[in-house]
């Protein structure tokens, strides 16, 4: 087994635990590289099948290439896609000029909360990783959110020997993070090995590429000449900038991610 095999086997184990333990389970599909790897791992775990619905939270500000990619592969892979949107907030004119914290909370967190309530999902699989940013470095594989959708990061339950939190109160739910132990480079190495499709916004055009994808007004490309996966891997191994440096919501406040994630952000 090489290092990618080890990562894959651990993620498959987690996905299978989630599928066995949660009757009302969904997987978040942001269309980014990580959630595409996650979807691929689900097909590995369940032998070509995706036995859980995929949830995409459409803020209406996503880049058009992402929506086109979503619709193409949802059809090709035969997945059950649920698209959520906080229509009321949009109708009232929600946008990032009301501060990014307010906009992310309304369009992403509350958009997600509405879909979770509507379908009564008790488990939600997400592709976050520990090396993305500090609060995520402290996450559990199975991480509870309370009835207000909130994360009590100061009092997380023990998690040992792959015995996960699968028992919980009504009106609460569990976030499941099968990619927590992967790094950004691991994700690209795996995409290369498995030949997993990704949106071509990740590849350099006119000296720029996106390293992390999100809403168009709040996501900025980096200077890069990497126009294929091998070049991206080489670039990332030498970089001195963090992955989410181009995501405006992270930079808005010293503890922006902590505040957003405590309220139920991804």
């Amino acid at each position: 087994m090489d290092h990618l095999d080890r990562l894959e086997h651990q993620s498959v184990f987690i996905l299978r635990e989630a599928h066995k333990k949660f009757k009302k389970l969904a997987m978040l599909w942001s269309i980014g590289k990580d959630s595409n790897v996650l979807l691929w791992l689900a097909r590995k775990a369940f032998y070509g099948h995706v036995p859980v619905p995929l949830v995409h939270i459409d803020t209406s500000y996503k880049m058009p290439e992402m929506i086109a990619f979503r619709d193409k592969y949802a059809k090709e892979w035969g997945v059950n896609l649920i698209v959520g949107q906080n229509k009321q907030a949009l109708a009232e004119g929600m946008n990032y000029t009301k501060t990014r914290m307010v906009c992310c909370t309304a369009l992403k967190t509350q958009g997600l909360q509405q879909i979770m309530e509507e379908h009564d999902f008790k488990g939600l699989i997400l592709g976050i990783r520990r090396d993305e940013e500090t609060t995520r470095s402290k996450e559990r594989y199975f991480s509870p959110r309370d009835k207000n959708f909130e994360w009590d990061f100061k009092d997380q339950p023990p998690e040992l020997w792959d015995q996960f939190k699968t028992n919980f109160d009504e009106n609460t739910h569990i976030r499941i993070h099968p990619l927590l132990h992967w790094t950004e480079v691991n994700v690209w190495e795996y995409i290369q090995r498995e030949n997993i499709p990704v949106v071509d916004l990740y590849f350099s055009k006119n000296g720029k590429r996106y390293r992390s994808l999100g809403c168009a007004p709040c996501t900025f490309p980096i200077e890069s000449k990497a126009s294929n996966i091998a070049e991206i891997i080489t670039e990332l191994k030498a970089t001195k900038t963090s992955e989410r440096a181009g995501r405006a919501q992270d930079q808005e406040d010293t503890y922006a991610m902590q505040k957003l994630r405590a309220k139920g952000y991804m």
Binding site: R6, T134, P158, E159, S242
Partner: protein, 426 residues
């Protein structure tokens, strides 16, 4: 010595947990190590510099890990952070555990995922409550490779005498719990002495630096040579195949091997090893999440454990165990709990509490006790509602350990010492 941009010699990954008493400098050392090896992005450095300036203090390496507002305000680690770095030799996951007694459950969560440990003590403050408790917890978790790091040598003028005295006192305590450290390293994490390079301030020390001791640790133990153990996670019938899914915890298996499922005792042979989007292998081994189809369509459910017929696991409804308790409510003799061993879940009763130990001082608190309080360790007899399959922790760690769930959360963890005869003692 920037190793961030170099490819390590091997693709292997070693997981290290950093433990010890609160304020002895664990996060500072991890921050220093990541910084000096070039793993902290420039924008993150600037960011932390600004946070420190706002607080009116010098650069805090610990803040590179302690990212929660509450952690930085109080200068304390609340929960485990897992970080990634590499040396010239291999990749590392470094698990920074909290040293405060209140967060022991988080320390245990972090340590249970580690292959090896660095146990940190403050040269000036000496051995403290958690220095001892964490060492004992590591020994219970089965972590055998442990190095001692004596930090803040700058505060004792890099004194060899202080180093030797503390080292001796600590070695004595560790010997009592059967821990033999692979090295004892004097450092100053804040000033970077003996972290990557040998310190000129401590010429009397000729042993390894932090980075050298990490590279000297052996990789995690090879489980493929142990008896075959395959706890069934689920059975899939997505299409015409009926696939038995699970992770091989130890040993190996190939097509045609006979597998005995316990506790039911049903047996059949492996017909195929299933894969999606990859060539199906003819054999599989410990650590792999696999799926088998079997020659005979026996009825198997989650919780059965596939074993090799020549070396079967024990099947019993009573066993002796060592447990550590993390619940705010005490573990009660006669109390009913949910027990999880590999993929088995069964109701259990705490039949007797043979003795309770203070996990820091190792004093025996009581014999034939009625309860076990938070942060205490005990030897107990557990009986399960129905027979389960298990090994002792010494035989196969993965199938010889368990957790106890109460009111939705894991409250205790334990290792199985031996099977108990049915109603023999009473």
């Amino acid at each position: 010595m920037d190793t961030a941009t170099q490819e390590p010699l091997t693709g292997e990954t070693l997981k290290i947990v950093m433990v010890g008493h609160v304020d002895h400098g664990k996060s500072t050392l991890v921050g220093r190590l990541l910084h000096d090896t070039g793993f902290i992005p420039e924008n993150k450095m600037k960011f932390v510099q600004k946070v420190c300036e706002d607080q009116g203090k010098g650069f805090e390496f610990a803040f590179l890990l302690d990212g929660l507002e509450e952690e930085r305000d109080q200068g304390i680690t609340i929960d485990v952070a897992q970080m990634f770095f590499k040396s010239k030799k291999r990749n590392y996951v470094i698990i920074d555990a909290p040293g405060h007694k209140e967060f022991l459950k988080n320390m245990i969560s972090g340590a249970s995922a580690a292959d090896v440990a660095l146990l940190m003590i403050d040269a000036e403050e000496g051995i403290q409550e958690q220095s001892k408790r964490h060492a004992y917890i590591l020994s219970l978790l089965g972590i055998r490779q442990i190095a001692i790091v004596m930090n803040k040598m700058d505060l004792v003028n890099y004194s060899e005498k202080v180093f030797n005295e503390t080292k001796e006192a600590y070695a004595k305590h560790l010997a009592d719990i059967g821990v033999k450290p692979t090295a004892v390293i004097p450092i100053s994490a804040y000033h970077g002495e003996n972290v990557l390079q040998k310190s000129a301030k401590m010429p009397w020390y000729t042993g390894p630096t932090i980075l050298e001791i990490l590279d000297n640790f052996e990789t995690h133990e090879d489980r493929t040579k142990l008896a075959f153990r395959f706890p069934v996670q689920d059975v899939y019938k997505f299409d015409k195949r009926r696939i038995i899914a699970g992770r091989i915890e130890s040993g190996r298996a190939k097509i045609g091997d006979e597998v005995v499922f316990l506790p039911s005792g049903k047996a059949t042979k492996i017909k195929t090893i299933e894969k999606w989007n990859a060539k199906a292998p003819d054999h599989v081994e410990a650590g792999e999440s696999v799926g088998f189809t079997m020659e005979e369509q026996i009825f198997i459910e989650r919780g059965e454990m596939g074993c090799v017929a020549s070396q079967k696991a024990s099947v019993a409804d009573r066993f002796w165990a060592n447990i550590f308790w993390m619940g705010n409510k005490h573990l009660q003799k006669g109390g009913k709990y949910l027990l999880k061993v590999a993929t088995q879940e069964v109701e259990c009763v705490i039949e007797s509490i043979h003795r309770v130990i203070n996990s820091s001082t190792l004093e025996e608190i009581s014999k034939n006790a009625h309860e076990v309080a938070k942060n205490e360790v005990a030897e107990i007899l557990i009986s399960t509602k129905k027979p389960i399959a298990f090994d002792t922790f010494d035989e196969v760690p993965e199938t010889g350990r368990f957790v106890i769930v109460h009111e939705h959360d894991v409250r205790g963890g334990g290792i199985i010492l031996k099977k108990a005869e049915h109603f023999s003692a009473i």
